[in-house]
């Protein structure tokens, strides 16, 4: 699947890239700090490992959102390669709509998970509310769903050449 060209730039893309940089470099810094402290000072930050794990979850979701925008999710793409041209557009529309529906369902189930966590008062990192960190699951899938829906719409609108 290929993303529509005009989606590739814009504020959303910059936000994704900035977040990815902050998360990745943050992970590198904290993980390195942890190694240095552990080896040279026999000391360890009690929150570091958990914070890194949460950052990895965020990295996964933001990376997934970015992959939706760039049309870079892993797929088989058999039709594109082996079927006549006239098949490509209907196939892409169906596939993209399917992805939009599934990610919408995942966003909804993610929301229910986070709502439960909020209701139970789950915490991470000692005393932080867990739902704040978990919210990236429904938010990420919702944005992916929005991206896929836009792409499907763009594919339908695009005139046949």
């Amino acid at each position: 699947m290929e993303a529509h060209a005009d989606q590739r730039h814009g504020p959303g893309q910059r936000i994704e890239t900035t977040l990815l940089c902050l998360l990745l470099l943050g992970i590198v810094v904290v993980a390195t700090l942890q190694i240095v402290l552990r080896n040279f000072f026999s000391y360890s930050l009690f929150w570091a490992d958990e914070l890194i794990r949460l950052a990895v979850l965020w990295l996964a979701m933001v990376g997934g959102v970015a992959a939706s925008r760039d049309g870079r999710h892993i797929s088989l793409g058999v039709v594109e390669r082996y079927f006549p041209r006239s098949w490509h557009r209907p196939a892409a529309v169906t596939a993209t709509l399917f992805a939009a529906l599934v990610t919408a369902a995942l966003a909804w189930q993610g929301y229910r998970f986070v709502a439960d966590s909020f209701a139970f008062g789950d915490t991470v990192l000692d005393a932080w509310p867990a739902w704040v960190f978990q919210a990236i699951i429904p938010v990420g899938f919702a944005i992916m769903s929005y991206r896929f829906a836009l792409q499907a719409l763009a594919l339908v609108r695009r005139r046949r050449e």
Binding site: M1, A31, D49, I52, L59, G64, R81, T103, L106
Partner: protein, 418 residues
Amino acid sequence: MSLVVLLLLVVVLLLGAPIFSAIGASALFGFAGQDTNLSIVAIEFYGLAETPILLAIPLFTFAGFLLGEGGAPGRLVRLSQAALGALPGGLAMVSLVACAIFTAFTGASGVTIIALGAVLFPALTAAGYSERFSLGLITSSGSLGLLFAPSLPLILYGIVAEVSIDDLFRAGIGPGILMILALSLYCYWKNRRPSASEPFSVAKLKAAIVDARYELPLPPLVLGGIYSGYFAVSEAAAVTAVYVLVSEFVLRREIPLGALPRIVRESMVLVGGIFVILGLSLASTSYMISMEVPQRLFEWVSPYLATETFFLVALLVFLLIVGAILDIFSATVLVVPLIVPVALEYNVDPVHLGIVFLAAMELGYMTPPVGMNLFMSSLRFNKGIGEVCLATLPFLIVLFLCVLLITFLPQLSLFLVP
């Protein structure tokens, strides 16, 4: 989950839907059929935040992309050439070794063919190797090195199969070297003319070593650290990322700092794609376990497959088919949870199974209809898929023989595992 749903999922996959969406849908449909609260899918997905070792994947991938961006591929080829180029068939072996090292450090993302192919292909044809031979060599080398630490698929297999990643790193050494040796022998046999090689020069080797002075310490640091047990895998990943960041941006300054966001995005798009697949497969696997799919699978195959040998033969056939259809990451998260319990019933060591699995998947990179290396080469060198397939065939056969040895000689994998 009904057959109709399964069929529907296969159809949308063929139409080009992202693999993660089909896995997510299968988990949703499956649990819906059991009247389970569907938020279980999100709960299982949150398992991504409860797997400490996962951290290694973004760090190694980022370091690999960064290495591929600068001049490291060229320096690696020049160094291998200075060291091995004087042997008969030397340049072909240079390609094999350079590709293997590069793939181990960049995961199996197809970067090798793009980054090294640009340097190696012209060098090979200029040295008198036929275009067809060079094409086949580079296409098949694009996934060589998959079995060496710290390759991404090895780490992912360890996570999914819940096997010690350190053990996998040790187990991959023998089979990985076997593959390189076998291909080297084939290259030597195919190009016996000594004229294809250049004379050995100490000065050249020295120059190449000096040239690669910042990259050279990396493999001993990472591999030494991991194999000696000094670093945990995720620590080694952090050290690698810091090392590459410092060497590329502070010492060498060959990549402009402004390119960093783009490289981060490109590498994290790949990681995000893999992790979303992994997270949803945690849910689909937990559904399959609740339906006792592995036990049923075992009960279904055991009347036909009486011994370990029969099981391994059937497994290999199955894996070769899976590898030809699915990419290595999706195949790992989907198939490994099913075959590990069955293999345990047959007393197959899960570490050995991992090496067999990945070696079979390595062949999948160069078999139609969806072999990634074939498409990468076809794109990179502007050749038709058919031509690339034919050029790759002899190398594929050599690697297939290696996979047979790896499958039926477990000692080859296990002799270094404590």
